[in-house]
């Protein structure tokens, strides 16, 4: 049964200085459907969304909502028209209660005062629709990211939205939380709401959406039903190249008698991880698989001295070392790309040059400065090597795209010439092309004798690159499997059921 379109965007063109961000793109959304919007970074997804919510002005084209032309002037007007957006980062106030976050700005009033009783009871009702029975009077910061995300959706839903835009809502959720979100999305769909869903996780698209629209470099590639296009074709269309060509990677080769680079014996931290033992050979790539919160990141942080190791012993190159702070790890030639790029990785206001030289400089100490020329040479070398897209090394690192920022962080650590490189979710939130490039770089470094620990939530990339895979569950190491012979199913089974 063909449903009616609630939203139609026709011939949308947006010109930015120097580039056409969108070139005559058509998009339509039906009543009661979940429509995925796909494309690499810079393909124009967010520009399209910003155009719909009135953040960006379009140069050509028209937007029809229920057949009437609209031109929203900003997010709040779009909201009044019935278009609500939930962003990747939770855009709520952590100090207000869950209930208040849903209603702030349009609180029900009684006798000229805010009616708190009604706010709380209506909030409870809304959250229980999402099967969340929580105390809605507690501050938002008291709850997990998933619940915060649900609160944004509750707010969006309660404004009687006809269209809900979910911009990468799943990137900080674990598997169960994602399922919870999907249930909510399905329920909203059943009530006739149109949902635009943006994500980088291909599996999730197939799990929940009805149709998908693919953009590339500001052009519309096409709109397809979910069953019309397989995963490989989808990626091919997104990237414009064949998937095999993109991921033409060769696993690192490690001779059986290679020396142990890192040995951690029965290490544990103060709160989460109790007892973990890990070995890593020279030039080997070991993957850490497991769900969010399984102890992957905590283990990595211990190996880098970012959190205190309270028991066990760590050997690097055969020598026992104590890691009190990251500086100690850097002295021992260990490098660590943290999970949260924005908070822990990039130093946005400083130039690319300064970002790259930082780890080298801190190892040397501030009394032995590098000259500006040395820094520039170093930065230029890695900009070229990693293909960082920038006019020069003096550009602020914060102005780069996500993938390029990740490369800058990688450059920072490559410049420090590590023996052990720990990468925590280095490919999260970046497009497939950049992902493949980062994986290639990782493997190249292994070839040069660097030992790599690779943490990722995406099993296929772990399996593609790792020599060995360590599987974590509930803050324990539950299994260790060979990377070349195992399948995604094997790992999933271990994660789900525990022991190998």
């Amino acid at each position: 049964m063909p449903q009616k379109n609630i939203l139609e965007m026709k011939g949308i063109t947006i010109q930015f200085p120097g580039v056409k961000a969108l070139d005559g793109v058509d998009f339509s959304l039906r009543e009661g459907e979940i429509h995925s919007l796909l494309g690499e970074n810079g393909a124009g997804k967010s520009t399209l969304i910003k155009c719909l919510t009135g953040v960006n002005r379009m140069d050509e084209g028209q937007i029809l909502l229920d057949g009437r032309e609209i031109r929203p002037s900003g997010p709040s007007q779009a909201m009044e028209l019935g278009i609500s957006t939930v962003f990747q980062e939770v855009n709520l106030c952590p100090n207000l209660s869950v209930a208040e976050n849903i209603f702030v700005g349009r609180q029900p009033m009684k006798h000229g005062q805010i009616n708190w009783r009604e706010i709380n009871s209506r909030a409870e009702e809304l959250m229980s629709r999402f099967h969340l029975n929580i105390d809605v009077t507690r501050p938002l910061s008291y709850y997990s990211t998933a619940i915060q995300q649900m609160t944004s959706i509750a707010r969006a839903v309660d404004v009687k939205a006809k269209i809900l835009i979910l911009d990468e809502p799943t990137s900080s959720l674990d598997e169960n939380e994602v399922q919870l979100l999907f249930n909510v999305m399905r329920e909203l769909r059943a009530n006739g709401m149109g949902i635009i869903f943006i994500t980088h996780f291909l599996d999730q698209i197939y799990a929940v959406s009805d149709r998908m629209t693919i953009l590339r470099n500001g052009h519309l590639i096409g709109t397809y039903g979910i069953n019309e296009l397989g995963k490989v074709e989808l990626v091919t269309k997104m990237v414009g190249k064949d998937m095999d060509v993109i991921f033409n990677l060769k696993r690192a080769e490690v001779p059986g008698d290679a020396d142990y680079m890192l040995k951690a014996e029965h290490i544990g931290d103060a709160s989460h991880v109790k007892d973990i033992s890990i070995t890593l050979k020279k030039g080997e790539l070991v993957g850490f698989a497991g769900l969010l919160g399984s102890g992957r990141t905590e283990t990595a942080e211990m190996l880098f001295g970012a959190s205190r190791t309270v028991k066990g012993e760590i050997f690097v190159d055969g020598e026992s070392i104590t890691l009190r702070q990251p500086f100690d790890a850097i002295k021992a030639r260990i490098a660590f790309c943290p999970e949260d790029r924005k908070r822990d990785g990039i130093i946005g206001d400083l130039s690319i040059r300064e970002n790259i030289m930082l780890a080298v400089q801190s190892r040397k100490g501030f009394m032995h400065p590098m000259t500006k020329q040395e820094q520039t040479e170093l930065a230029d070398k890695y900009i070229k090597l990693l293909g960082i897209a920038t006019p020069d090394c003096e550009k602020k690192a914060g102005e780069l795209s996500g993938g390029n920022q990740q490369k800058v962080i990688l450059a920072r650590w490559m410049a420090a010439e590590p023996k052990i490189l720990i990468l925590d979710e280095p490919t999260r939130g970046i497009d497939i092309g950049a992902k493949a490039e980062i994986q290639r770089l990782m493997l190249e470094m292994c070839g040069e004798g660097v030992s790599v620990i690779f943490i990722s939530s995406e099993l296929d990339e772990i399996i593609r690159c790792s020599n060995r895979i360590i599987i974590m569950r509930d803050r324990e190491k539950v299994a260790e499997v060979d990377g070349s012979s195992c399948t995604q199913q094997d790992i999933l089974k271990i994660i789900a059921e525990g022991a190998a």
Binding site: N91, L92, C93, P94, N95, L96, V104, G105, I114, Y142
Partner: protein
């Protein structure tokens, strides 16, 4: 779980109130200490307690506005100078120019609220840090103050005298009729203004959309604007309201000392901020309660009272004790923040 929310106990144990409890608790501990040490000198009388209000009403009135500014994540350094300027308007206007006090007060209100709104506008729309903007405002107000007069001017006007002298004696019922309690204790116009401002402040913060927008802005300004809240208007109005509070504090101070002086209340802004911080308001914004501020003012003013009762200590010890108190509260805040973060 529904029951869980409605139970009063759960409401009271909400972690967001911990700082307020700490303030109230420490106030009573110090008060009890005073009672224990100087009970025989009359520390435990109603009069001592009421005097805390009388002697610090002007701080309290200003702290109402300051609390709101701090909750938005801003700061206002101009309050002391604006209050001083208000006093100067009244003193110079009535004594030298022979104007009616109401005319002077009206002029002061226009000046104070206008300056507040202007500073709010500069802070929001020109994106200048609040610290710098209000510092400039402070220099300006102080300068105008000195421009009017460098001498202290006494205020003599029947209306001012009447207002300053007006008092309600606290009575008790004994042997069939009402008598004044001994030692005599009374409340005056300033105390009433202070209490009214605290109540009004509580109402604004807890019961109006404007008040809730203040919290939202302090929590995360960017989110607040993405949620469609009127961020700019709210911020400008908050600074305007704080200007109003400064003027009222200035009037209250003028009634208290019955004179205007260009150097009065120097550094007052930081004492007001200290009161708010001791009362549990976070300088990072988003957290603060009027009731906490009330006890912050009382807590800060009980220390000089204790030193007076002691009689042997130099008054400088008051400053050091306030500093120590500040340190204590900051440590408690720190502890509360880290322990609530750990829960997650």
């Amino acid at each position: 779980m529904t029951n869980n929310r409605q139970s009063i106990l759960s409401k009271l144990t909400n972690p967001k109130y911990i700082m307020v409890y700490a303030t109230i608790g420490i106030f009573f501990v110090i008060y009890a200490f005073g009672a224990f040490m100087y009970g025989d000198k009359g520390f435990m009388t109603v009069r001592t307690f009421v005097n805390l209000f009388i002697d610090n009403a002007y701080f309290g009135i200003s702290a109402v506005g300051m609390t709101m500014v701090l909750i938005t994540g801003g700061i206002d350094l101009s309050v002391g100078a604006v209050a001083s300027l208000t006093g100067m308007f009244i003193a110079y206007g009535t004594t030298v120019l022979g104007l009616h006090p109401m005319t002077c007060i009206f002029a002061a209100l226009v000046m104070g609220v206008g300056l507040g709104l202007l500073m709010g506008w500069v802070i929001h729309y020109l994106n200048v840090p609040p610290f710098i903007t209000t510092l400039t405002g402070m220099f300006f107000a102080r300068g105008v103050c000195s421009l009017i007069s460098r001498e202290s001017i006494d205020i003599h006007h029947p209306m001012i005298d009447a207002l300053a002298g007006w008092k309600i004696y606290l009575m008790k019922y004994s042997a069939g009729h009402w008598v004044r309690i001994r030692p005599i204790a009374f409340i005056n116009f300033n105390v009433i203004l202070f209490v009214v401002m605290i109540i009004a402040g509580t109402f604004i913060l807890q019961r109006t959309r404007f008040g809730r927008n203040i919290y939202a802005i302090g929590g995360n300004e960017q989110s607040a604007s993405l949620m469609g809240l009127p961020v700019g208007r709210t911020k400008v109005l908050v600074y305007g309201f704080n200007g109003l509070c400064s003027v009222l504090a200035g009037i209250s101070y003028a009634l208290y000392v019955k004179s205007g002086w260009n150097l009065s209340l120097q550094g007052g802004e930081l004492e007001v901020i200290t009161c708010a911080v001791i009362g549990g308001t976070l300088l990072t914004g988003g957290v603060g309660y009027m009731i906490g501020t009330l006890f912050g003012v009382l807590l800060k003013s009980v220390i000089p009272a204790l030193i007076t009762f002691n009689g042997n200590l130099l008054s400088w010890w008051g400053k050091i004790a306030t500093g120590g108190l500040l340190l204590l509260f900051i440590c408690i805040q720190r502890f509360v923040v880290t322990s609530s973060a750990r829960k997650k």
